[in-house]
């Protein structure tokens, strides 16, 4: 009998190959996997494992259900290397986990550059999570000395985003 983890592994393997269709028979269960030849978003139903007629929907149901008993792994590693904070400077930090954007859209200028003067009310960047765009204010007065995160990259809670010489 195939386990859910086996099916998941098969899906993963199939996805990494150029094989288009795969059928596996193990005694009572037959599993067929087929790749769609469409790119982009597909609105197809979930069932990636089709049970043989003699085996009622058992496999499908299991494959769809969240696997609660699986071990919980370590937290996501941050993309950026930790920044060493120097004395004499202040840091504007990310208030949330999300994606860091330096401008409100790819076609407009960044909110701030190195050398920009900021006041506590200046918007310095956007951090986006769950499609919620969060305008981050400097909350301090000074000059941007360094930009520590990269546009479009993930940032962690509390990660320094800008190095600021306060005035």
């Amino acid at each position: 009998m195939l386990k859910v983890s086996d099916i998941r592994e098969l899906i993963r393997l199939l996805d990494e190959t150029s094989v288009h269709e795969l059928t596996i028979e193990t005694g009572e269960v037959t599993v067929t996997m087929k790749k769609a030849d469409v790119t982009g978003y597909i609105a197809a139903p979930v069932a990636s494992a089709l049970p043989h007629e003699s085996a009622p929907a058992q496999v499908v149901a299991k494959a769809e259900a969240p696997v609660a008993s699986a071990p919980i792994a370590a937290p996501t590693p941050a993309e950026q290397k930790p920044v060493k904070e120097e004395t004499g400077f202040e840091y504007i930090k990310s208030p949330m986990v999300g994606t860091f954007y330096r401008a409100s859209s790819p076609t407009v200028a960044a909110y701030v550059e190195v050398g920009s003067k900021v006041t506590p009310k200046s918007v310095v960047c956007i951090v986006e999570a769950m499609k919620l765009m969060n305008e981050i204010e400097a909350d301090l007065q000074g000059e941007i000395v360094e930009i520590l995160a990269e546009n479009g990259h993930l940032v962690e809670y509390g990660q320094p985003l800008f190095k600021v010489k306060t005035t």
């Binding site: 899906i11 769950m130 479009g152």
Partner: protein, 330 residues
């Protein structure tokens, strides 16, 4: 909308298709004939079908009208806080932009900004949201939740559930939530949500919940390449629905969920709803997080609304941002 114009509209509607004389209106509202004529003219420009006949007066045809003026919204919304104040615009660049301006100027919680047409509706990263006139609901709600910035992304989950519930009530059909902010009918997008937050220190000062819902026959109005991905309420139900009613259903659901969340901390029900109406869970997906692609099995929605992926090596990874792409399978 001016108060006088609102009252004229009220009088015409109450007359239920019969004529109301100009003299009657002037007497009731203590205004001049010229002023009344100007207001009628504005109503016509807004799309109300008002007929003017010399010696008889004015009459209105309401059955075909699909208006989203302040008057129509307030009438449909009733007594709730959300939508109690409505700012209606014929044409805006985007309702979210206007909402931000009004919120910065102190507009109170529950203020709704709505447009008949948008010239630059947008989604995330300023991607365009195509919004021809009368083809959809284009609205932004101002809220002022007492939340920290870290908690703010929950607003997206809440709004997605409110819109999904409203669309199910209106259509009687099953819709699904594509994590985190799109509403799909049979895999096609019927609604999208874009939330923007302005913070003060570590707290949310205000949030703008922008909602676009396709109501009319959208497929004819959009580029061919997008047609297989988009659907509207009218196409789903075969019925034309009044946009004011759609707005009212969304707002009442949103207000209920919002009150439960803000005043009683009820959020688990929202997550449960997302899990049971998810277009994302149970799939093998790729998430474009900008700098890289995360692939994994979409296994669960976390208590805070994050997408839980099982990635290579049987590791669990929580995703807070990025575009989900269902991988081509089956």
């Amino acid at each position: 909308m001016s108060e006088t114009r609102d009252k004229i509209l009220e009088m015409l509607k109450n007359a239920d298709g019969s004529f109301v004389s100009s003299r009657e209106i002037c007497a009731a509202l203590k205004t001049s004939r010229t002023a009344v004529w100007k207001h009628i003219h504005t109503l016509q420009e807004q799309g109300y079908q008002v007929e003017a006949i010399t010696n008889k007066g004015y009459r209105i045809f309401m059955s075909e009208a699909d208006m989203v003026t302040s008057h129509e919204i307030r009438e449909a919304v009733g007594t709730g806080l959300f939508g109690k104040r409505v700012a209606y615009f014929e044409l805006l660049d985007s309702t979210n932009n206007m909402a931000k301006k009004l919120a910065d100027a102190g507009a109170e919680e529950g203020t709704l900004i709505i447009a008949n047409e948008q010239s630059a509706g947008r989604g995330r990263l300023n991607r365009a949201w195509i919004s021809p006139p009368k083809s959809g609901v284009l609205m932004s709600l101002i809220i002022r939740p007492p939340l920290s910035i870290a908690e703010a992304p929950r607003i997206t989950s809440l709004a997605a559930v409110a819109v999904a519930q409203a669309l199910m009530e209106l259509s009687g059909k099953l819709v699904q939530i594509k994590w985190p902010n799109d509403i799909l009918f049979e895999g096609k997008k019927i609604s999208g949500i874009l939330t923007e937050v302005s913070a003060e220190g570590n707290m949310v000062q205000y949030a703008i919940v922008g909602v676009g819902i396709n109501t009319g026959y959208i497929s004819r109005l959009i580029p061919e390449s997008l047609q297989p991905t988009v659907v509207s309420l009218e196409e789903v139900t075969g019925k034309r629905m009044k946009r004011a009613q759609v707005v009212a259903n969304v707002l009442s659901n949103m207000e209920k969920l919002y009150e439960g969340f803000i005043h009683h901390g009820e959020f688990a029900g929202i997550i449960d709803y997302i899990k049971t109406h998810s277009a994302t869970l149970g799939r093998y997906v790729k998430v474009d997080v900008g700098s890289r692609m995360i692939t994994g099995f979409a296994e669960d929605i976390a208590d805070d609304g994050a997408l839980v992926l099982r990635v290579a090596g049987d590791q669990i990874q929580k995703v807070y941002s990025g575009d989900v792409i269902a991988t081509p399978m089956i």
